[in-house]
Amino acid sequence: MRRLLILTATLALLAGPAAAVNPDEELKDPALEARAHQLSKTLRCVVCQNQSIDDSDAALARDLRIILRERIDAGDTDQQAVDYIVARYGSFVQLDPPMRFDTLALWFGPLAVLALGGIGAFVYMRGRSPAAAGALTPDEEADVAAMLKSDEAR
């Protein structure tokens, strides 16, 4: 019983997330298949928008996986194969968006916000810096001397 439990636990821990790729879709050439597999992880499924076509079980994701493999098999470079799909569905399908004029806000927006916050914090801190301490009055000098003395006496 105990052995069975351990075995079950081990197997459960070993299980990775299953890709939706079916064996009949895979290319014969392992090198090409590996490339297609990597590429399909970077393309968004337009049906279930937060999954890649590699993960998605949607029928359209399957079609796009097959199209991607056809392009790769026909000798397309990675870029050409991705461009083929982007030309039909837009750069929205790229999970890793390219840096272009219309994606500048996406790439540098967070940095801009951080910079703004930094400037704000800097101005605020400078406004708060304490006034320079003036010289002590004779009364205060006397108090300080007394305190120091009482400390020494102990």
Partner: protein, 178 residues
Amino acid sequence: MKRLLFILPVVGFLVLLGVFFAGLGRDPRALPSVFIGKPLPAFATAPLRPGDTGLANTDFQKGEPVLLNVFASWCGPCRVEHPVLMRLRQEGVVIHGLDWKEDAAAGQRWLAERGDPYVRAGNDPTGRTGIEFGVAGVPETFVIDKQGRVRYRHVGALTPEDWDSKIGPLMEQLRKES
């Protein structure tokens, strides 16, 4: 200056709130087509109706605006929009149909049971023709202008409200364009 520093974040927050609030009403599936302003890619399909001519991209450059409706008999929302398409056909709107991802027999049965709103109708059993112009699902309706360029893409069932508020006025405007 101090005042400004206090007000700026508040204004920023309110703007962000407005953006998010406006986003609530948007359909995340309604992505703009990459073909907006561009002609449909070259394609030619088998006919849906036996003895017919099928559908090709050249059917869209005939000097009048048309709707291209992508549908399937297995699609639920297509049932909702079908009566709307029938009404539009009666009103003289030219609608071409693409039967997506099913055999012509299934599409023919659909038209026989419910009526046929299409001037031209193509069959796309593998879905490859639809993929050529970025179809992500059914139903989808494209508004094509007189020159055969895609002007608008509607995702989901075409309701009477969609027609009255957006697509009808757009078709009217396209009819006036030279």
